[in-house]
């Protein structure tokens, strides 16, 4: 799925979160969204998902404006998009099984037995079958993220919008989530990924957009980050220069970086 932002701006309480953002994410491309806390990274993801309208400019997904769609058109569009919130956003009164079964039960007429096999298969792939009957309140943050990402794996997604999947997880969970992200990249899904992990920015993302305070932003490749634009960008540059490749240090920065 192609994502296009044209002169997009968002403001909260008359204060610009970001403004004048124009970029295109080509099908199959991975865009990393970086920035200090409160810079609007989650807002940017929600804009791309069509969950919030921009105050200025337009957002197009495969040439369609999600805000201008009717209910049926929006539902069709969203069936190709997966949005994974920072804390998972699992439905609280449903068990892990029911959370994973919900999209299949809602959108298809598949028998319960088929749905059960599909859900158990997903949990087995991530080695978390023990979570089947638990409820979200009983899960750790990392487990919620994994279940939420498994929910996003159902069906065929053209666009994945993932909010800081590597925040607050342990080493094993990091490997599980990395495996899922690598599989999506291999399938050429378009991904917009919020993360401040330097080697993920460098090795997994094709480009990055840095959302900085006072509505300022910068877009480009990790190796092209200019010096002196903003201390946050300078920090990213330094960390990128001093960070080994993902294959040599897969556990670098798990949970120690803040989103």
């Amino acid at each position: 799925m192609r994502v296009e932002l044209a002169d997009v701006g968002v403001a909260y309480n008359e204060s610009a979160v970001f403004q004048g953002v124009s970029l295109r994410v080509a099908p199959g491309e991975t865009l990393a969204v970086v920035g200090p806390t409160g810079s609007g990274k989650t807002t940017f993801l929600k804009l791309c998902a069509g969950l919030i309208p921009p105050a200025r400019g337009t957002v197009l997904l495969d040439g369609q404006d999600p805000v201008a769609q009717g209910a049926e058109g929006l539902s069709r569009l969203r069936r190709r998009i997966r949005f994974v919130a920072q804390e998972g956003a699992l439905i609280s009164n449903l068990s892990v099984f029911e959370n994973l079964a919900l999209p299949m039960r809602y959108h298809s007429h598949a028998p319960e037995e088929v749905i059960r096999r599909e859900v158990e298969g997903l949990l087995a792939e991530a080695s978390v079958t023990h979570l089947l009957r638990l409820f979200p309140a009983q899960l750790s943050l990392g487990e919620k993220k994994i279940v939420s990402l498994l929910r996003a794996r159902e069906g065929i997604a053209s666009l994945l919008l993932i909010d800081d999947p590597f925040l607050g997880i342990d080493e094993l969970q990091f490997e599980t989530i990395m495996g899922m992200v690598r599989r999506w990249r291999a399938r050429k899904a378009t991904m917009v990924l919020v993360t401040n992990h330097p080697w993920i920015v460098r090795d997994m993302a094709d480009r990055l957009i840095a959302l900085l305070p006072d509505g300022v932003h910068w877009t480009g490749r990790a190796e092209e980050i200019p010096a002196g634009v903003h201390p946050f960008l300078d920090g990213i540059r330094r960390r990128l220069e001093g960070t080994p490749s993902a294959d040599r240090d897969p556990a670098g920065g798990t949970g120690r970086e803040s989103g």
Binding site: K46, A49, L51, A71, S75, R76, R78, R79, I81, R82, F83, A85, E87, A89, L90, I91, S92, N93, L102, P103, R105, Y106, H107, S108, H109, R151
Partner: protein, 261 residues
């Protein structure tokens, strides 16, 4: 002039609120009757859970309240009416007080306190935890999955609970008449059936639908009105209870005026 302006603003704000509620109710009712290609299975599951929680789980507390009200009403009736030579009107009093008025209203209050607040809190928490957005991003229609089943479940449960309340209250009243007046059960029930009209049954059903619809729609509205802060959840739940109660009382007067004046 400031007072006039404030009254004007309140009136406009109140009008907008009622219009929003009407539109929400209209869309929820349309969704109940719409046959869509998806979501029916999950909608039925939510509907069943809502009927169980609102209806079945409320039976113990409703039974107790109904028996106690039935006892109180008939105690007053059998002790006061004979003094004015109207002792034979006990059955008529039960129909007027319990079946026409107290039964529907008290049932609505109990359902509002239990289920109305629960709906507002549940949906409010879903807002805060971004679960509503997660459902939207899954392509799940909120009206089909979240709202219409709760509205239909509430209407069905409240209507059945009102009928249940009436029956239990009348049975509670019988306990007093049996020991105080030594009235046989058949005569007791006969008096009540003779005093009842078809309009009384119709009023019960109409109030069940109207109160059930009001409770669900107002609770859903205020649950969805929660923003990002958890502190808004109890605030909106309180508003839901007070406003739904006010609307139920207003509808109660309207129905009585239409049916009996």
């Amino acid at each position: 002039m400031d007072v006039m302006a404030a009254v004007g603003r309140r009136t406009i704000s109140g009008g907008r609120y009622l219009l929003d509620l009407y539109l929400l109710a209209f869309r929820a009712v349309c969704e109940i009757f719409r046959r869509g290609p998806t979501g029916a299975r999950e909608g039925r599951r939510v509907l069943l859970n809502q009927i169980l929680f609102t209806g079945f789980d409320a039976l113990p507390v409703l039974s107790l309240v109904a028996i106690l009200f039935g006892l109180v009403v008939i105690i007053q009736a059998v002790t006061q009416l004979p003094r004015i030579g109207a002792g034979e009107m006990a059955g008529r009093i039960l129909v007027l007080v319990i079946i026409r008025e107290l039964g529907p209203l008290i049932t609505a209050v109990i359902v509002l306190g239990r289920s109305g607040s629960a709906i507002a809190v549940e949906i409010g928490n879903m807002r805060v935890n971004q679960e509503i957005e997660a459902l939207e991003m899954m392509g799940v229609d909120l009206f089909r999955y979240l709202i219409a089943p709760r509205v239909l479940g509430s209407v069905a449960a409240v209507t059945c609970l009102i009928l249940y309340f009436d029956v239990v209250a009348i049975m509670g009243g019988f306990v007093v008449t049996k020991y105080k007046l030594i009235v046989p059960f058949s005569i007791y029930v006969g008096d009540i059936l003779q005093a009842m009209r078809f309009s009384d049954l119709l009023v019960t059903l109409v109030k069940g639908v109207v109160f059930g619809l009001t409770i669900a729609v107002v609770s859903v509205y205020h649950g969805l009105a929660v923003g990002n802060s958890p502190t808004e959840v109890p605030q909106q739940a309180t508003k839901a209870i007070l406003r739904a109660l006010s609307l139920c009382l207003a509808f109660n007067v309207l129905i009585a005026a239409v049916m009996y004046l």
